[in-house]
Subunit: 351 residues, 2 copies
């Protein structure tokens, strides 16, 4: 297969973890006889510095022309601590999601046999966890009108959803549930929010089209609790953008490390793959960041190209590195810690 992948390294540890995913993907291409051409493009603070814009048109053109996008991370503390900054890296991420039509973010949560005891949660609570959070990614309070009034003394953000936006996300959720254990949980705050009531009523109306799927409706606060109390209670979760942002990060605790959790953003022709962790600026440039979430995001990419064996080969080598302790410092726990680049080399060699 010939694959043309847009490579958006972004900020902080982005470039370092992306490098390892490229090494591993190239090793896969070599072994299974594929041809991957990588087209790098600017995004985030890096793009602001270079061209004054966090998601430049040239970058968008590169993404549109590609078969898929592999993305690192975005964000820089310089902007976080300056609430008045006019241009921010995150705007690039949001613009990219919107312009590429990536309305669904697929975030699986699972455990790794060799890491299970590193989770802050007890083994019996999490062993066998296998859930997917489907987060709506181009709507809600991320994209509604926002601003200031009253001489800057009042600020507002608008959380807004249309029935069609909810339907297309929920449809993916129902379909995904059908390929799994047929349980779908719609997470909202319908006891307070009008947009959540629209979510609930829209999903309720779709139930009849999927008679085999058992649907439950839960409030986001309750799910924030149950997700860590008993994650095995969930199969497929669908939820709006902001709730999904919070719950997926929370769920990453289950696996023991955010540095391990991959994601795919889908919705139109070009799909995007990214680790769920952020740009982790404190670690940037130190060659210490855990590259596995990005490597596993590449596995999701191969899977979506229907290259299942290739995807499994990546997962297998990741499991091998975990089992043999060939890991970065966040997972080393007393054992030897390897550099980001060393882990990438090791993975590529062991493909």
């Amino acid at each position: 297969m010939k694959l043309n992948i847009a490579l958006l390294a972004g900020d902080g540890i982005g470039p370092e973890v992306i490098d390892q995913a490229v090494k591993v993907s190239n090793a896969i291409a070599k072994k299974y006889n594929h041809e991957i051409s990588w087209t790098p493009a600017l995004t985030g603070a890096a793009a602001i510095d270079a061209v004054g814009e966090p998601y430049p048109d040239e970058t968008h053109a590169v993404c549109e022309a590609a078969d898929a996008v592999l993305f690192g991370a975005i964000g820089h503390p310089r902007f976080d601590n300056d609430p008045s900054a006019k241009v921010r890296p995150e705007q690039g991420l949001l613009k990219m999601r919107q312009k590429l039509g990536l309305f669904a973010n697929v975030r699986p949560t699972f455990t790794f046999p060799s890491l299970i005891d590193k989770s802050p949660l007890k083994r019996e609570r999490i062993e066998g966890t296998d859930l997917i959070i489907l987060r709506e990614l181009t709507g809600g309070v991320y994209f509604g009108e926002r601003g200031r009034k009253d001489n800057g003394n009042t600020a507002f953000d608008t959380m807004t959803y249309t029935r069609a936006e909810i339907q297309r996300l929920a449809k993916k959720g129902f379909e995904m549930a059908m390929t799994r254990s047929k349980r779908l949980c719609c997470v909202d705050k319908a006891n307070v929010l009008e947009s959540s009531r629209l979510w609930r009523e829209t999903v309720q109306a779709m139930e009849k089209d999927y008679p085999e799927v058992t649907v439950s409706y839960e409030f986001v606060d309750a799910v924030a609790m149950r997700l860590v109390q008993w994650p095995k209670g969930y199969d497929v979760i669908i939820t709006e953008n902001l709730f999904g942002d919070i719950l997926t990060d929370e769920a990453s605790v289950i696996s023991g490390s955010m540095g391990l959790m991959p994601s795919a953003s889908v919705g139109s022709k070009v799909r995007l793959y990214e680790p769920i962790h952020g740009s982790y600026p404190q670690a940037a440039g130190k060659d210490i960041a855990n590259p596995l979430a990005t490597v596993l995001s590449a596995a999701m990419m191969f899977e979506d190209f229907d290259l299942k064996e290739e995807a499994q080969a990546i997962r297998d080598v990741v499991n091998k590195s975990l089992a043999e302790g060939f890991v970065t410092e966040d997972l080393a726990e007393g054992g030897k810690a390897y550099k980001t680049s060393e882990v990438g080399d090791w993975l590529a060699k062991n493909i």
Copy 2:
């Protein structure tokens, strides 16, 4: 001391758990020579059924005339599954918070020595946790404009904050941090939301008035992760209404049970005390709900009347019941489970 307490039992298990808090409070009054008069009033679905309104004017009058309010829970599944219901129990709760000026919800999270191994989290992660989440309670998306457009096919909610609203909440946070380990964490989503940027800039501007307090700013998604990963990293957390709703429920996992966590809502003359759990309709009327969160809410009430010994006596008897296993089924784990009313009787007797 003479105390006049408004008693709002509310829905579901509300009346059952409230009964036990009354028993315990009366035992305290007897032992320490206080006089408590309880004035019951309607709220929630119970009030809708009786008078068509979840927070009737008469109830408000009772609250305003009281020295404090003891509150059970609100909510009924009949409304949750009907997104088009015009009147809902939760409106009563929100109206009550607003009309009583309860702009700050104080939710402590701590562990109980005898329960620590019941937490889904590992002992070494949580032992010694002692944090307080100060949730803004009368602003944000709970109170902004909401509605439908486009023939009901678009729904919106507005998250809005004024500088003054943030200042009064943050002031409480700084003051609370000063009486504790002087660490304050402001939780927001300033990389996306304009209202969060107003939070961040407002709190930043207040830092100079509290030079001894170390302030950190963290994104809500990261906190959703760190809160269960390493709760001891936090002392006082301040945050807006919706984030606080989610994070406080999540934090309740640390203690091993939502049935244990009390809260106080403050801001004006009359304070309100309530368990953080909901109306738990599945358990209603069965005499099985855990009354300890409500009993501990009564302890917070005594503490705020500067009756510290009385508050401690309640905490001591609660710890005794936990240590001796005189608990409801949610905590029994194989041991004998006692009824809600039996636990209340036992606590009152052992005061």
